[in-house]
Amino acid sequence: MSLDLRAAAKMLQFDEKADRVVPPTGFTARLTVFSSFAMAFLAVFALALSLAAGRVAERWGDELAQSSTLRISAPAGEGVTQTEAALRVLRTTPGIVDARALTIDEQRALLTPWFGADIPIEDLPLPQLIDITETDEGYDAAGLRLRLAAEAPAAVLDDHARWRRPLIEAASRLRILGWASILLIATASAAMVTLAANAALAANAQVIAVLRLVGAKDTYIARAFVRRFALRSLTGAAFGTLVGIVALVLIPSRGDSAGFLTDLSIQGWGWVWVILIPPLSGLVAFIATRFAARRVLEELA
């Protein structure tokens, strides 16, 4: 990080003398640094939240594989017919990828938590269970129930597994909320740097007038301001990002894989986003100040 910073600073620091003509703008400077700092800090958190929410949504989505169960408690003898009928219906239902009758062993495994392992399953009038794999969008449960009532009246659709669906949705929503915050934060910091740069330029009207009077070109004047604001924003954002990362690391993570958002850490490609925060902040400041400086200068003779 610090290496990155120094390289960028060097790139922008090619004319120290020109910098001196702009007075150290005190509070405006601190304001810029602080805004960039706060915004970068918030951005790191929003980013971590988005990434974590994204991870959760993905993992749970995979785990669930969008499954539900159909149970056929048919009178003895009709079991096989109704099972086949139900399978036919299911396979032609939009939103269902696959439907498969469970074997005896699979049914036993399901019941084990309730009865222990030595359940005499062959002796019981057990219903046949059918495992349904859905698409991402899922199927129309009400419509399916109607069709099943006609074709396999003994079938009972149990989409109990769906309870997790709203959770996945919530995670996705949280992810969107996170990205929206990031966008908002980026806009807000751009606006704030622009306003700060404008305030600095307005406060330095005399400096600009003096420079024009002694024959300074617009680019010379603009450069001094632009460089300074870009560097400030870069510095502030770099610190904000750093502090944000440290804060994230310090938040105790349970490492609990079942945990929802208990793990707000940044992983893998997420780091790319994080490392982009300071240079993007600097770039925004660069463009904003350049724009502001141009506007102010054009008003001047």
Partner: protein, 243 residues
């Protein structure tokens, strides 16, 4: 009226450095300056007088491209100001040293750096031995040797005006425009400034000084051929020989 005259008081056959042709100016209300025609020959020494509020400062601003004439043509070094781009104006100003009436500086830089500012902004070296010696000599000339490290807000009124004059001449410009340069200076000091201006004029610089100090004009006339312009009734007049 000064139409079609050659203001070069040494009668040299050179083209004018500042040329006004039927120039008028208005800040938005009525016309402040009307129908002004003037041609300032290189190496000439002009004074500009007129009552307070008559437009002396405005006139000077027209002469260095800070204002655009609302009518007529202003030509500086034979180029029409109206056609100049912003960077052209900047480069032009390096050939015109200006002493503003309200001398403004970069308040965060010491006096010496302020005086050397025209060099810095035009990309010239200010740290070389030659440049430093030159700067020192200039400081001594305007009597600011002891105040070189002070910041501009720490200067007295007269010190500011002298610093502004030093800044105006450091680039050794072809033209020097001074607006009321002795307003806050005592008689002795203003004589010294005049001597400085006369010296520069003898070196071939063109000088135009706006002032209400008739004593200064009289003193100048004793040393160098000058012409006195007067803004009266919105027009440019040649002042009588009574001065």
């Amino acid at each position: 009226m000064l139409r079609h005259n050659n203001a070069g008081n040494r009668g040299r056959d050179k083209t004018a450095v500042i040329e006004l042709e039927n120039v008028a100016y208005s800040y938005g209300g009525g016309e402040l300056l009307t129908d002004m025609t003037l041609s300032v020959a290189p190496g000439s020494f002009h004074f500009l007088t007129g009552p307070s509020g008559s437009g002396k400062t405005t006139f000077l601003k027209l002469c260095y491209g800070a204002l655009q004439a609302t009518a007529g043509h202003v030509r500086l070094f034979e180029r029409d100001v109206r056609g100049l781009g912003r960077d052209d104006v900047a480069i032009l100003r390096r050939k015109i040293g200006v002493v503003h009436q309200d001398c403004q500086f970069l308040d965060h830089l010491p006096v010496t750096e302020n005086i050397a500012l025209p060099l810095s902004v035009s990309g010239q070296d200010t740290s070389g031995a030659g440049a430093e010696a030159n700067l020192k000599e200039l400081l001594a000339w305007v009597g600011l040797t002891a105040r070189g490290d002070a910041l501009p807000p720490e200067l007295s009124g007269g010190e500011r005006q002298r610093a502004a004059l030093a800044r105006a001449v450091i680039m050794s410009p072809d033209v020097i425009l001074a607006d009321e340069p002795t307003g806050n200076i005592d008689w002795e000091m203003s004589q010294r400034l005049l001597t400085l201006l006369v010296e520069l004029n003898r070196m071939g610089k063109t000088i135009l000084v706006a002032t209400h100090d008739l004593g200064l004009i009289r003193a100048a006339k004793a040393q160098v051929p000058t012409r006195v312009l007067r803004i009266s009734n919105r027009r440019l007049q040649m002042a009588g020989a009574d001065l």
